[in-house]
Amino acid sequence: MKINKLFNSVNDVMSDVFDGAVIMLGGFGEAGSPVELIHGLIDTKCKDLTIIANNAGNGKIGLGALIGENQVKKVICSFARSPKNITFKELYENNKIELEVVPQGTLAERIRSAGAGIPGFYTQTSVGTPLAEGKEIKIFDGKEYVLEKALKADFALIKAETSDRYGNLTYNKTARNFNPVMCMAANQTIVQVKRIEKEENTDPEKIITPGIFVNKVTVVNEPIIESIAIDNGETYP
């Protein structure tokens, strides 16, 4: 038998998701955002989800659509504001969705920590601000630092450029962003890639996410470009 993490369709990779799951979504804005996997998540009709992502979606596709379908209970992100953010904004203003704001670097590090077996770390980021309220402060070398805790998930939905059958991933340019650390921090990491590489052709120096952090991979060779789709008025479902 050979290890094979490649699955035939978005539906196949999404089969384990459940109501109330904590789900990380890769991407920074539209770059690296797993739009087709999010649409698969919408199709599962799972609800009460907690979403961990950098943003809170745009328009009515991808995360914007998921939120619009009322499947999301809470968003943990650094930046939920954007001109095209419509679905989150409406629910937030009507107190129908929770928001935990986390500084972007702290968000990335909390996710990495979960993947690295580090339950907490100290950072100067947010000391003296409302985002440090209620958190433990500790002094190192005369300076104040705040304790931040690991952030893990049941699932991570990831967009990458290539994968081999082991789940070894490469990314495209700044679509890398949160994806590699999220791969490390979820019980099940689900990936959409533009194309499959034969393992003989993967350069071991160039793999960004080793397959040990990946569970399921499926191919979406021509993924939606979010900003163009929104400008064209596309929506999902």
């Binding site: 920074f28 804005g29 539209e30 770059a31 690296g32 950098n54 809170a56 650094s78 930046f79 939920a80 504001r81 954007s82 953010n85 989150f88 904004k89 937030y92 928001l99 704001v101 986390v102 500084p103 972007q104 670097g105 702290t106 968000l107 990335a108 590090e109 996710i111 990495r112 950072t123 100067q124 980021t125 947010s126 000391v127 003296g128 601000t129 409302p130 985002l131 990314y171 495209n172 340019k173 700044t174 679509a175 890398r176 962003n177 949160f178 994806n179 590699p180 650390v181 960004i208 470009i225 979010e226 900003s227 163009i228």
Partner: protein, 215 residues
């Protein structure tokens, strides 16, 4: 007092003053909006490397139509380019550059700055609170430059004894570049470094809540 908003240096002139401050070889992170202007005015005989916190070091100019790639964007989510010698990294690595003190200068906008160097620039307390990378940048960068109009649109002072808005960081600002003055944040408060040629000390003090040290 809202007539003063158009007084003083233009945004380009402020940008140029900031650009002139960077030593050759500096690593710089420019905030979204007004700070992005700075890169236009960097002298040709020095080389500056731009960091964008979404995992891009060695950022080039905005992408033109032929170069457009929605997976090569800056922290403002606009398509950009990468220069030779540039590199990509993931978010935890990118913020290690910031938090670990490897960025020489960051330039950000401000809603309020206190004389102790406190910065408020992420939320007015209304609407959706959204912080992005600002809190990491202000504690991590070696020099934190604020680039801002000297007063709010309705003429109220932005340079205060104490900030009234929720803070982005405490005692973090190194220097303020406004349309009316360049002010260093010192242990004793704001200290004048340069004043717009057509105003005097009294005028500057009048539009500044915090006390300015003029000598």
């Amino acid at each position: 007092m809202n007539e003063f908003i158009n007084l003083g240096w233009t945004k380009d002139e402020i940008a140029k003053k900031i650009a002139n401050e960077f030593p050759h070889g500096s690593y710089v992170n420019l905030g979204i909006g007004m700070p992005e202007l700075v890169s236009k005015f960097v002298d040709e005989n020095k080389e500056i490397i731009y960091h964008s916190e979404n995992g891009l070091l060695g950022m080039g100019p905005p992408a033109n139509e032929n170069e457009l790639d929605f997976e090569l964007i800056n922290a403002g989510k606009k398509p950009v380019t990468i220069l030779p010698g540039g590199s990509y990294c993931h978010h935890a690595d990118s913020f290690s550059m910031i938090r670990g003190g490897h960025i020489d200068y960051c330039v950000l906008g401000a809603m309020e700055v206190s004389q102790g160097g406190d910065l408020a620039n992420w939320t007015t307390g209304k609407g959706i609170p959204a912080v992005g990378g600002a809190m990491d940048l202000v504690v991590g960068a070696k020099n934190v430059f604020v680039m801002s109009q000297h007063t709010t649109k309705d003429g109220s002072p932005k340079l205060l004894k104490n900030c009234s808005l929720p803070l982005t960081g405490k005692s973090v600002v190194t220097r303020v570049y406004s349309n009316l003055a360049i002010l260093d944040v010192t242990p004793d408060g704001f200290k004048l470094k340069e004043i717009y040629e057509k105003i005097d000390f009294d005028f500057l003090q009048k539009v500044t809540e915090a006390k300015i040290i003029f000598n």
